[in-house]
């Protein structure tokens, strides 16, 4: 099933003037979610949390390598310019060549991480983190952007 859909998608892509070269992709699947935050209470989301962890899929030519880097916010911005601290630890990111959240290699999302694309040419990236609302945190909606960069190594 998986192979059929994958093949279908790649067929659509490569039947083009650039036939002969392989595609690459990085896709955001699920945002990192902290749920309800209580002022003064840090909330930790593990990269192995299927419902709350940030999730990405990457795809590249078999046998090639790619460099993953995150651009991570240190704060979320809320009402009236109020900020809410967001931190990431040394093992808050994970990579799974088999795309299984239960089978990850942990890495530091603040550092570059090199992946080698498997025979299937795909993999999944997971991200956890910690939100640290202050005891006097102002109520409201806070937002920020997490960016995952995938650089190829030709």
């Amino acid at each position: 099933m998986r192979t059929r859909w994958y093949t279908l998608a790649l067929t659509v892509v490569v039947a083009t003037p650039v036939f002969g070269q392989r595609p690459i992709a990085v896709t955001g699947v699920q945002s990192l979610s902290f749920g309800t935050l209580l002022p003064g209470v840090p909330t930790v989301v593990s990269r192995t949390d299927a419902a709350k962890s940030g999730q990405f899929m990457i795809q590249g030519p078999h046998g090639t390598q790619g460099q993953l880097t995150f651009t991570l916010p240190s704060v979320l911005t809320g009402p009236g310019g109020a900020t809410l601290a967001l931190t990431f630890g040394g093992s808050d990111a994970g990579y799974s060549q088999s795309q299984n959240i239960g089978s990850q290699i942990g890495f530091d999302p603040r550092q570059a991480f090199v992946v080698t694309f498997s025979q299937q040419g795909s993999g999944s990236v997971f991200l956890g983190g910690t939100a640290r609302p202050a005891p006097t945190q102002r109520a409201g909606a806070y937002t920020a952007t997490i960016t995952l960069n995938l650089a190829t190594f030709p």
Binding site: V29, S31, S33
Partner: protein
């Protein structure tokens, strides 16, 4: 989530997960000075439109794990970042549709023969992904938006281009269940050395006990580290052979500059 579920979500059922991103081909662009143009295809496999922005910078792989970014390359750097343009630079790719980005090079007059490099950045941003688990009554609500950026190499070739690599300082060390291999690679000629490295560990009878093959790109000089899985290797003498060649399975042969293979070897003693 099982792998099957993830891929089906990406390719068909992305609505459920709100997936965002585009598939990009090729993963490296080679522009010839005679045509001065190239193309990149974007395909949106999802059911939501994706906003895409295109930009360039100068950078190159500096080690086996870091792409070095040079924000202000000097005049001696073979940077094409300032004179290659993309059309369009901003676009929206509708669901299940594809869009071609045209690249046009306008090099400065009198540009010397050689290869010039840039990195093409394709930034994709969809609508804000749903934040699960945030109750309406929450006093503090958090919404994180995902952005994905794919960075591929762009190579502009003018006139006679040639490449090569030198290999020196080959050394090894047993580290746990792996054999770590280091070597200094230095690019030759006026183009990047794009090829593959093959490391083979053989025993005293010439039998292969471990082997890896990885793609490499040598733009200046670098000292990559490779790790061969060796498990519980029996004590004795072995030989590590490192071969560099310009063969690449992921690139069309006509795009790869050929160069004679380079080899070296080193003795490995396992106590």
């Amino acid at each position: 989530m099982k792998p099957t579920g993830l891929w089906v979500a990406l390719l068909l059922g992305a609505v459920r997960l709100g997936a965002q991103g585009v598939v990009i081909a090729p993963h490296a662009v080679f522009i010839d000075a005679r045509t001065r143009s190239g193309a990149v295809l974007l395909y949106n496999p999802n059911t939501e439109p994706v906003e895409v922005a295109i930009s360039f910078f100068f950078g190159y792989p500096a080690t086996d794990s870091v792409v070095r970014t040079v924000e202000h390359p000097d005049s001696t750097s073979p940077s094409a970042a300032s004179w290659i343009q993309a059309f369009p630079r901003r676009l929206t790719v509708p669901p299940l549709e594809r869009q071609t980005i045209r690249l046009l090079a306008s090099p400065p007059p009198g540009l010397a023969d050689g290869e010039y490099w840039a990195r093409l950045v394709i930034s994709a941003k969809g609508g804000q992904l749903p934040v699960t688990g945030a109750a309406d009554t929450a006093r503090v609500k958090v919404g994180l938006t995902l952005e994905v950026r794919t960075i591929i190499g762009v190579f502009y070739r003018k006139g006679a281009v040639h490449t090569g690599v030198t290999l020196s300082g080959l050394r090894t060390a047993v580290v746990g269940d792996s054999l770590a291999v280091w070597a200094r690679l230095t690019q030759q000629g006026n183009a990047a050395y794009i090829g593959s490295a093959r490391a083979v560990l053989v025993d005293s009878a010439g039998k292969t006990v471990s082997e890896i093959k990885v793609p490499i790109g040598v733009y200046y000089a670098m000292e990559p580290r490779y790790a061969l899985p060796i498990g519980a290797l029996a004590p004795g003498r072995y030989r590590l052979r490192l071969d560099l060649s310009t063969g690449r399975e992921d690139l069309a042969p006509e795009l790869v500059l050929s160069s004679p293979p380079v080899r070296d070897s080193a003795e490995v003693r396992v106590p």
